[in-house]
Structure formats: C-alpha cells, structure tokens
Amino acid sequence: MTASAARFDRWYRRLAIGVPYLWFVTFLLVPFLIVLRIGLSQTELAQPPYSPVFDPAAGWQGIKEFVSALSFANYRTLFSDWLYLSSYLRSLTVAFIATAILLVIGLPMAYGMARAPRWMQPMLVTAVILPFWTAFLIRIYAWITILQRDGLLNDVLLALGIIKEPATWLATDTAIFIGIVYSYLPFMVLPLYAAFEKMDDTLLEAAADLGCPRWKAFWLVTLPLAWPGILAGCLLCFIPAVGEFVIPDLLGGSQSLFIGQTLWTEFFSNKDWPVASALATLLLTILLVPILIFQRVQARELEER
C-alpha cells in the first residue's frame, strides 16, 4: 500500500467509526443517562421542573449535595400504585397475545410467499413492504372509519345478517388487537419469508422419502430451520408493541391504559417529568432482555452470512 493509501485508510477509518460513534453517544447514550438521573429527582414547580439541579460551579460540595438529594421515591411510587403496575401488565399481555396472533397469520402467509413461483416473489415482497411506507398514523386512522359504530364493518355484518344491531368495535380490546396485527404484519412476514426462502427444499424431500408425513416434516424440519426468522419476527413485533402509544390511544378505550399512554399522560398532562422518566427507565429495563436477544439475532443474520 502506498503512503497516500495508508493515510486515506486511517482517515477513512476515523471518519466511518468516529462520526457515527459520536452521534450515538450524544443522541442515545447521554439522553438515556439524563432520563436515568431525572428518574431519581423530585418534581418542582420551576424551570426545569425537577430538583436537584446540578450546579457545576459549586465544585465538590455541589456534587455531594446533588448525589445525596437523589432518591428512589419515584420508583417506590411506581411499585406501590396499582395504576402503574397494571399498565405495565396490560401492555405486556396485549403485546404478547398480539404477537401470537401475528405469528399465526404471518406464518402461512410467509410460507406461501416462499412457495410462490420465483418470478412472483419480488413482487410479493414489495407488496408486503409497501403498506409499511404509507404512514402508520394513516393506517390506524383508516381503521377508525371501518370500526366506528356506523362504520363499514357494521354495515357489512348487518347486511349479511350476521348481527342484528350495530356492535361496538371501537374503544375495545379487539380494536387494539386489529390495529397492532395490521400495523406490524410486515415486520412479522418479512423475516419469516427470508428464513423460509433460503431453506433447502431437498431436506423436505429427504424427509418425505423416509416416510415422514408433510405436517410432521413441517414441524420437525421447516420450523427448527426457520427458528431465527421466527424469533426475529416475534421480537420485532413484541418489543415496539409493548411501548405502543398511537394504537391504544386512537383505537382503544379509556378504561385501562398502555404504559406508553401512562408515560405520555404523566409527561404532558401531569407535567411530572421525574415519574415519566422513572416509567421510561422501568419500561426499558423490562424490555432489555428481548432487545438484547433481538440484537444478537440481527447481528448474526447480517454479519455471519
């Protein structure tokens, strides 16, 4: 390598690693440390609306006072108030059930796509990705028109004689499930399709030759081989669904809140930044294990091809 190439190499390395690194530290790591720290503060009617405020001019004494003023009071509030715990539980349960429904719908769809004639497959993949490009908010809004009391779903069901009176769809859990399944379906189908698509069909033929029935071969051969794709799809749906705000807010009822809604209310309506920060910290702690698993799967998928 010539001297100029070596110099370029060094320069290019610094740029490609250093710039994104600096960005991540500034806009992901530091903000999160601030959330952590405000979660340990108290609400104040001041600007900023929390205390203690760190004053670097006070020196060592200032740091000591600052640290001793931090407390776990917000976390004690979270654990002693059923309102908060129940919204965590609700988000986790709904996200879990929705992920299961997504898997049941996504699995045959992805499998069918992988089985489609070769020339058709790129078109099918585009067709699945395309709705993801149209705004999320719009797609949720579209369901309001369908699910409302004098909406299209009731019109169709009444016309078919399945129901006698307009049923309530909006502001129910059913609406939330429909919303989540609808918006996250591409996230489930695409990793599953990728897993099925690269599978070696001769393995299934071998299983058939050895007398294995088709459903059993699917269970014993196809599913285990597609496992990384299944895991990626499920996590890609489950993790964001737990923190979902828009879907439960627009389609769900007001009786019980998702954790994203509780956090939103604490922040925007109650102006309680410390409690909102503590809620965010706890939510991230709960999601840490699924996020780490997802990252492992993702990194392996992209890097060990």
């Binding site: 992901l28 709705p131 149209t134 705000f245 999601l287 997802f294």
Partner: protein, 271 residues
Amino acid sequence: MRRAFSPFNMVSVALGLAFLYLPIVILVIFSFNDSKLVSVWGGWSLRWYRALLDDSAILQAAWVSLRIAFLSACLATVLGTLAAFALVRMGRFRGRLAFSAMVYAPMVMPEVIIGLSLLLLFVAIDIDRGFWTTMLAHTVLTMCFVTVVVQSRLMWFDWSLEEAAMDLGCRPLRAFFTVTLPLILPAIAAGFMLAFTLSLDDLVIASFTTGPGATTLPIRIYSEVRLGVKPEINAICTLMIAFVAVIVVTGSLLAKRYGAAETEEPRAAPM
C-alpha cells in the same frame, strides 16, 4: 426441484395481502365521497380536496413536515452509510459491540422513550424546541434504518472492484466515488427514501421534541382525529399515500435501471 405453490399457500398469501390493502383502499375511495358523513356514500366529488386548499393550518403543517423529513433524511443517509461502512468494512475495532448495539437499538426501542430522552437532552443543554430539534430527533430514529439497508447491500459487495481500481493507480478517494459509490447508490437511495417516509410519518417523537411554530403534519392530523373523523383528513391522507407511492415507485424504477447490471448474481463478500 421446488415444491408446488399449493392452493392453501395461494389463499393465505391472497388473504394476507387483502388484509393489508383493504383499509387503505377504503380510505382512498372515501376521500372522494361527497357526503359529509364519513361512512355514507354520497357520490364522487373532490370537495374535500378543495376544502383542504383552504385549510392553511394543515398546509403549513405539511410544509413543515416535508422540510423536516428532507433534511433529516439527508443527515440520516450520511450518518447511516458511514455506520454501515464501519460495521462491514472496518473489521474489529474497540467498542464494536456497543456500536452495533446502538445501531439496532432505535429500531425496536419504544418511541415514547426515544422522544422523552431526547427532549430531556434538549432541555438539559437549553436548546429551544422546534424545527431543528425535531429534525435531529428524527435522524436518531431513521439513521439506523439507513444503516441496515446499506449494510445488507455492502455484505454482497464485490470489494475486488474497488481494489482493482486502486491497483490500476486510482486514488482511494476517487476509487470510492467512481467505483464503490455508484454501485451501492440504489441501496443508499432506498435508505434515504425509508428515512424520509419514516420522518414524515412520526407522531410520537415529534410530539416530544417539537415546539411552538413547528407543528408537523402527523401532530396536526392526530389532534383532528382525536376530535372525530373528518372527510378532509381522508383527503390529506390520500395525498400522503399518493406522494409516498410516487417516491417509492420512482425509487424502485431508478434502482432497477441503476442496479440491474450488478444485482443479478449476488456474490459473497471476499472477507
């Protein structure tokens, strides 16, 4: 030999696609509805599109959103491409694990957490919230999608092309701009478009990080929708869908023209 595309396979794909498209199609059709009641058909009409032209609040919000989306997509494309090169080309470096963790984290992290943490950062460093803070916040979210798109292209990139150019005496920077960049341009363009539409679409992060005078379109739509369904909203949503569809279709046509020569046979990266 490939196994057959059975009727069961066909039905499951068809039903899945119908489920994905039906609500959007209904929304588009009802945006041309003459009736004031959203769910009663009153004949074809463009009146809600005309009403939209008089709604200066929505038009202004759309303009804000478009500018934010464009600037943040540009920034996200540069940062995301750099990060993709770091992940694919740099081998092992100190903090690589943390680096890749931070690339993938925003993809799954709940938006309320990203929004809240960035807002608290902007408050801590005492920046007025508004247009620029929202632009930066969207870049945090979208750059990781750019990274993933570009990274998966780089995995298949034939690096010997770049090396050949340099062996023939091409300077490294020139080799990058004349050989590597044109070949990966379709992926970079796809990343840009994804970043653009994600930013155009975001409600939660923008709600936290925006300020007076910088109401984005989703924030505007959301506050209208909370008050009830309005036919104008159908019209603006249809326009947004059409806009994004035009971008995506143009993008994929360009990618086809540009990328046809070298995507025919994906090659494993010789690393």
